[in-house]
Symmetry: C2
């Protein structure tokens, strides 16, 4: 489903070049549940943004369903992203002038889903993350963990094949974190979705069937549940 | 040092009134290390914003060093806040057009500290959170955990008497989280600072000498290390 070969990412900053990802090779099968761990600043979000077609690698190939998507034009990548991928951002990136409900409806409106249908699907998804009672609040009138859950609802509402979640429980208490984890696991087990999630929480990482560790922009170790 | 009596906070939203904090009484002694826990949306940040003079209670009294500060005018509250309080925001709130270093220097420039001195103090504080190597990056060129550490450095650079930290390790891996916790504990033990920190991480909460729990806008339980 997802295959990265020799992925590097380099930034130019203040005239010098900084390499953030150094030749990453990674294969994620359909229906897998992969956890990504690693120290702050190691390159996890950068890697996730490349997988999510939000950023281009500097060198390397990225095969999504056997098509090399790294070098497609922006429009093509946007279409693929909107169809296939649900992304929960580390910084949420909710639109400040829209309510929680309107934020969740956004991916559906890009696809041309009629408003009444989009509203119904979005309220259902907000229910699943226990945020329906705040549907009419704008992000500034939501707590940190409430914003995170709205971002999760928005990532899932379009029924994506691949769910990419960048620290989706970072702002949540342990009960709500587990509810979110249960939701992801249900989607992977019952609907065969592929889930890749970045986390700093070992309680969450240990529930991922497989996890990989990033350090200084390289993949350093793999753990599968079978190994422990 | 800090005493809240009968603090309530109500918002008007869409024509109806929602009460977020219901009659909170809380005393925090000088030099205490207090942890605040509780479910997402329970009112922790709202409570912290009132303690940090960023928000006014709807009713109730707030004595800071025996002065009722709840009803002082905005200018007076700003001055007190800048002198006494260092605040680590749950959402960081770094200024996007300034570098990490410039963001940390900001509280010092409000106090009229000369630039060369402000720069030196800020680089030292960035060293303490291991962020000196990214001093010249703007927030968009920093990882989530790096932004959080810059926000911590900015809260501490002015040597405040009271440190209020809203989920200061939410974006950090466990080693970096413990480094931050060690820094707060050092400041409290060696420099007698008062620390109030909100956390979802029980490993962090258990290191606070005392912790209180918020549920639905009320304080429901107190735990001191002595009770366990
Ligand atoms: N636009 C940019 N220009 C230069 N460097 C950048 C840019 N964006 C990110 N970086 C650097 O890339 C490195 C990796 O960032 P990334 O966001 O991938 O880390 P991360 O592993 O997700 O960290 P965290 O756990 O703190 O979220 C960091 O050192 C960061 O400073
Ligand atoms: N401007 C506002 N108008 C109306 N309701 C608000 C506003 N700001 C916050 N709220 C509500 O107040 C409640 C408490 O929010 P608060 O940010 O204090 O929660 P919290 O305990 O910090 O949660 P978290 O752990 O998710 O950060 C939430 O239900 C939120 O929706
Ligand atoms: Mg990250
Ligand atoms: Mg909060």
């Amino acid at each position: 489903m997802i295959e990265l070969k020799g992925i590097t990412r380099t930034y130019m900053i203040g005239g010098t070049s900084q390499t953030i990802l150094h030749g990453i090779d990674l294969k994620v099968e359909d229906g897998e549940f992969l956890g990504i761990i690693g120290p702050s600043g190691s390159g996890k979000s950068t890697l996730m943004n490349i997988i999510g077609l939000l950023d281009r690698p500097t060198t390397g190939q990225y095969f999504l369903q056997d098509e090399d998507v790294a070098q497609l034009d922006d429009d093509r990548r946007s279409i693929i992203r909107n169809q296939f991928i649900g992304f929960v951002f580390q910084m949420f990136f909710l639109l400040p002038r829209l309510t929680a409900l309107e934020n969740v409806m956004l991916p559906l409106s890009y696809r041309g889903v009629p408003e009444a249908k989009a509203k119904e699907m979005s309220m259902q998804m907000l229910e699943r993350v226990e945020m329906a009672y705040r549907a009419d609040h704008k992000p500034s009138a939501l707590s940190g963990g409430q914003q995170q859950r709205v971002a999760i609802a928005r990532a899932l509402v379009g029924d994506p094949k691949v769910i990419l979640a960048d620290e989706p429980t970072g702002a949540l208490d342990s009960k709500t974190s587990q509810d979110v984890m249960n939701l992801f696991m249900k989607l992977q087990q019952e609907e065969k979705k592929t889930v890749v999630l970045i986390t700093h929480d070992m309680k969450i990482a240990d529930q991922c069937k497989r996890h990989i560790e990033v350090q200084d922009g390289r993949l350093v170790q793999e753990t599968s549940v079978g190994d422990q």
